[in-house]
Point group: C2
């Protein structure tokens, strides 16, 4: 039986947010969500849908699911929808009947230039909705102000699931430490990690083609790049792995750094140690700013200043993104005020938000020193969701 406890929590939360935001109605309008997913749907529906489906939640707490005849049972079984309406040939008559009866001033729908997690409505579906509503008085508005808090304020059930995904990843990191040795290619290491995931019955948090991202040594390219057979774990150099797993629909996203220490060497080389200390200091500087009420960009400022002051180039990304059902799970970004990020760095951090804190620097001759930790925002600050990396993991060779 499908477990929909999280969806029941989120639907209840949505009603409160509609009241808080003073919006009459939130409409999720989707079809064929296997390959045209709306990231909002899994928050309130336990399964994908094939045909046009409308999920309506009002500020008064009224909840209506309209779905194709063969799919309505999945919503009936949830027991939370006040009305479940099946249709055969077209959703239009039932949808219009419900809207005319509930008569909202505004209808928030899932589009947003800034917030990809609130941008699940396709342009084709928007045109369909416009066509259905021609001549009607309802005002279509962006649901970004509904979806950002709905996705961002993790319930206790959600936080427990993220912690479990992080714990499993920590365990796999220990296995990697035992496995690593000079001569392994990035691809071999990635294949080993995929095999461990399969043993655990989990899948990578993002595209298996580059989750894990494995970076061996100083020459490998940086970024969301597929592991290759060209670069090899090498004595006296670094291995950096960025990975995560999806466990029970919630993810982890963690980066760790290993040093393959030559026999006889007893200390981490100074440029590597300095890079590690600086990266960790920058993460702690971000953490020091992280609490409810602060703007995301202010958190990024702190880590960016720290790493620049330490003599390194600034990282070309945000220091933190939300995590949850996906690796980039919602709008508020702990990021710089760059056009490519839209409004997301100006979002306000809230209690229950789960973020990564991540950045890295390249150390010539050694490789990438890059860390990523997962945290949850508390009422007064933040907590680690796992055990943070406090020193370079040494693999004696």
């Amino acid at each position: 039986m499908v477990d929909f406890t999280i969806q029941l929590e989120k639907i209840a939360q949505a009603v409160g947010i509609l009241q808080e935001q003073n919006v009459d109605m939130w409409l999720t309008f989707v079809r064929e969500t296997e390959h045209n997913a709306d990231p909002a749907l899994p928050l309130i529906s336990p399964s994908n849908v094939t045909w046009h489906t409308a999920l309506i939640i009002t500020r008064e707490g009224h909840k209506v699911a309209i779905a194709g005849r063969y799919e309505i049972v999945n919503f009936e079984r949830m027991g939370i929808w006040d009305e479940t309406i099946a249709y055969d040939q077209s959703i239009q008559p039932a949808l219009i009947e419900v809207l005319d009866r509930l008569n909202p001033r505004q209808i928030a729908v899932n589009y947003s230039e800034s917030d990809t997690a609130a941008d699940g409505l396709s342009h084709g579906m928007y045109l369909t909705l416009q066509r259905y509503l021609a001549g009607k008085p309802y005002q279509l508005i962006s649901a970004e102000n509904i979806l950002n808090p709905l996705r961002g304020r993790k319930t206790p059930g959600e936080i427990a699931r993220i912690r479990a995904a992080v714990a499993l990843t920590d365990d796999i990191i220990n296995r990697i430490t035992a496995y690593l040795k000079p001569g392994l290619t990035e691809l071999e290491i990635a294949n080993y990690i995929h095999a461990e995931y399969r043993k655990e019955g989990v899948v990578p948090s993002w595209d298996p083609g580059h989750c894990p991202t494995v970076s061996c040594g100083a020459e490998t390219p940086v970024g969301h790049v597929s592991p290759s057979s060209k670069y090899v774990a090498t004595t006296g150099e670094l291995v950096r792995i960025d990975q995560g797993v999806i466990l029970d629909h919630y993810i982890s996203d963690i980066q760790r750094v290993w040093y393959l220490q030559p026999a006889g060497e007893t200390e981490i080389p100074a440029p590597v140690q300095h890079a590690f200390d600086s990266v960790r200091a920058a993460i702690l500087a971000a953490g020091a700013m992280l609490k409810p009420g602060v703007q995301g960009c202010v958190v990024d400022d702190a880590s960016r200043k720290t790493i620049i002051d330490a003599g390194y180039p600034e990282y070309q990304h945000a220091v933190g993104h939300m995590i949850g059902r996906t690796v980039h799970d919602g709008a508020t970004l702990l990021g710089p005020r760059w056009e490519r990020y839209g409004k997301t760095p100006f979002g306000i951090v809230e209690a229950g938000n789960c973020f990564t804190l991540e950045l890295g620097v390249h150390v010539p001759g050694y490789g990438l020193v890059s860390l990523e930790e997962d945290v949850v925002v508390t009422d007064t600050g933040y907590e680690w969701l796992g055990k943070p990396q406090t020193e370079i993991i040494v693999v004696p060779v």
Copy 2:
């Protein structure tokens, strides 16, 4: 290393289709495709992307990939893009520079009311593009006339992959026959099938919550419904399973029917046999119409008439949908002329299209008789992609 042979085939095919359709440029404009997937992207990109990415293909065969600095390597490695352009803070300057240089009359972008597989552009991304192009002379048009043939005309490499997925499913069907016995719940059967998938390193073709869909006996609800513990395989009744696997990025989608035959019984009960013969006749009637040049609805007409003439109610869906990378893989639908299907039933069947042929009837007291076969359209007709079910599978109990 990521295999992108299929993407190279599809990009070459796209240039030919742009010429055929007399369209200057096709632009795929995406971001965060992990959770906001554009179904067109996997046809031409070997991996998902995080930041705004523009993939441009022109009628003259010029190919430009613009991507975030950390993701451009994945496109460089393909060796097919004439230009690969990395950006840091905003994609806008590079995108506008390329468009102004190539100066297309129309730019086809991925939205469509009818074709979900051509509707990957989110409304938020459409608004961003409109904002970028304000004051420019380019006309944005729907790419549905590009994407339908591009997705629909399967290359030999694609057909081979679908055949492999079907062959594995046929093999798993044999295992299910050996496993089935009275008393198993729908959920137990589904869990058994998931375990076989895991052994093979494959995942379900669609939502694991209802792939497989397992229907035991006469009382279980019909449709895209999660298997439950309430309904049980029962002597003298039917088990129907709808399932498929994703193997090497291509899928299968097959329904089979089993009869749990009581000891001493030697024939299939007459109403079940009549239902099976009628369903199979309707599938063959659809097949008899299936060839290049015919409209999808004409194929559906043939099976719909056959099943109604046999005395059963008409099925409330299409007799066939495209398959490929996904279970509903493109526009042309072998379906009725219903509003919910938009223009898709009026699409023209082409050689290389891969379809399901499927329908079912409910037999009171016994359960669901529903078949689904996978086929490829040839120059003159069609071929089965696996071994079709020609008789009810009998499980002696």
